[in-house]
Symmetry: C2
Subunit: 368 residues, 2 copies
């Protein structure tokens, strides 16, 4: 399906893949306007309003028709299936809050900066997804024992790094048949809007968002590890372009804070009245639970324990709060999460694709 092409697109930046200038290219800005983050005050909502949930769309939002749409399940299966949207909606349904995060979240805060969609900290959101579990469908189709990988194809198509391809990602049979993996057709109680994968998409709780293929057209069982562009080349933790690296998979722990006070329009510096302030935010750790959130008001020198709320769901963030006595002056606030497995957010992260950067957030505030 993938196909190489001779170089015919402009080079972005100096072509090295990273930027050391501290400024951004016009192409990065065009991507930032298309692919929007969740303004961090949106952390106040346990379920993110659909219209501010983050979006990363590699190519264009495809034009889809619900009535003629078909989802094909094929490849190494005993019984090929072709499902209409109504057939999918007629199957047993579950509704589940899921915190989703882009694997590139935090990329633009890396130094030097990998040149790609320039996320700061806001490529996140938690929605209630309604759909039908995938495992029983795969059971009915009958995966053959030689199945090594299951390939999910979306209707979005384009060129990335000179490779023309449909957007495709895969999961092993063990991952694809986990209980929480669903084919979703509703978000927050309404049919998916086009940009979120209408009419039907995959939702893989716990994994970074690239896995939850939108505009799903086919599910195919294959006898080898899938090596399409978005699986084998993109989304890898690589030290440099020659490093084969490791694939990106589960969401790493992260805590984020609602920036307190009010903003300056251009710099987003926060202006805050002194006194007792309750800092609030949310934290998540992919498939793991968040065991601890700590807050620092001195740029990470000292940390204090925040109070945790119950998680919004098994695969969704949990709220936290922390009482801070704000004294006049400038302060750098941070929060960091630690998972139940003991994995704590680092102070720094770097890799050449700019993925999985869960370094602690820093929020500058000016207290009067």
């Amino acid at each position: 399906m993938a196909q190489s092409r001779p170089a015919r697109f402009r080079t972005v930046g100096d072509g090295s893949g990273v930027d050391r200038s501290g400024t951004f290219t016009p192409e990065e800005v065009a991507l930032a306007l298309r692919n929007r983050g969740m303004p961090l005050e949106g952390l106040r909502y346990p379920i993110t309003p659909a219209g501010i949930h983050y979006l990363l769309i590699h190519f264009d939002i495809p034009e889809m028709d619900a009535a003629s749409h078909r989802l094909r399940i094929g490849g190494l299966v005993e019984r090929e299936m072709t499902l209409t949207l109504n057939e999918i909606k007629g199957r047993p349904a579950v509704t589940m809050p899921v915190t989703m995060e882009c694997a590139g979240n935090g990329r633009a805060l890396m130094s030097p900066r990998p040149v790609n969609q320039p996320w700061t900290s806001d490529a996140i959101g938690t929605a209630e997804w309604t759909g039908t579990p995938l495992a029983p469908l795969l059971g009915e189709a009958g995966l053959r024992p030689e199945t090594a990988d299951i390939v999910f194809t979306g209707a979005d198509r384009g060129v990335q790094n000179e490779v023309l391809h449909d957007y495709q990602r895969s999961l092993t049979p063990a991952e694809a048949t986990r209980d929480e993996v669903i084919l979703a057709y509703e978000m927050n109680g309404h049919p998916l809007e086009p940009q979120h994968g209408f009419p039907v998409r995959l939702i893989v709780p716990g994994w970074y968002g690239m896995t939850s293929v939108k505009w799903l057209t086919s599910i195919e069982a294959v006898d080898h590890p899938f090596d399409g562009f978005q699986q084998a080349e993109a989304y890898r933790y690589q030290a440099d372009p020659d490093d084969p690296g490791e694939p990106v998979s589960l969401i790493r722990p992260r805590a984020l804070m609602i920036p307190p006070g009010i903003p300056d329009f251009m710099t987003r510096t926060r202006l805050l009245e002194g006194g007792a302030v309750t800092l609030k935010g949310r934290a998540w750790a992919g498939r793991e639970q968040v065991a601890r959130v700590e807050v620092s008001a001195d740029g990470g020198k000292t940390w204090s324990e925040a109070t945790l709320e119950e998680p919004v769901g098994r695969f969704a963030w949990r709220g936290w709060s922390f009482g801070w006595n704000a004294k006049p002056g400038t302060h750098t606030l941070s929060a960091r999460a630690t998972s139940a497995k003991g994995e704590m957010q680092p102070d720094e992260e770097w890799n050449i694709q700019g993925v999985g950067n869960n370094a602690c957030q820093r929020v500058e505030v000016l207290v009067e």
Copy 2:
């Protein structure tokens, strides 16, 4: 209400207000991630899905409570009024498609570039707004004859250019009492999401978006032209900072095209198969009707007439289409609109605030 403060926020760029480097500051990118554009393939929908309608939020999305929310109508009126959301919803309702556009749309395409929210061409959207007409409410309150301006205040508050203020804009009594001005509480058939002004906002069809104040808390009649920051300092057509300039008001004519073919991820260059291609898009002209749309496939040297569809509404865009015979090679496609009053889109526009830039769109395509 506005209040000056000593300089205490970082300078963005070199402080001149414009950028000649061709690259963007981190602050502009942070704004682009918060304030999202409508991906231009969204032009295919006559009514924009709510979640891809453009958003410009100067400060933070405020936390609002529908039950306790009150809208006050006061100042130079015979009878002050305080309305609950249910009282507003109990009044006569209208539903109206309205094309809205940010006054800063096109700013990032200017050269040199005014440093501010860096819109390319995508700060647009058309929604169906439901609400109650404002004029009868003002009639019941009884505007006194000495009323010169009507000030609309939102719940959003912050600092811009060192001025601490609530977001406020005004309209003259003649403009505020036009039939099409409404207090809206639904968008596309659903209650407003927080980012679109929940629980109630102003909608002023035909004007650039800064006029349609979100999170509306008060409407006040005053005996002088309102001189708040967002009215008297921001949103002016100024040649330089010393030019008093003219206020920005009605939306200028614009046509936009759905970029044909498929994109390259980073550069968004379009890849297209040769042959007969139907180019499509939409055009609007604020309070005026669009009389003509022309298309150029040679970078603006020659223009041909497009076919127009009926407008989606009195204050909403109309579709257009144009048959193009795409030959192999690279091409620059453009569209331009002319209003019924004969106002045509220019090739270029510049002012120091980067407002009202309706210069023709340019779309690069690579035909194979």
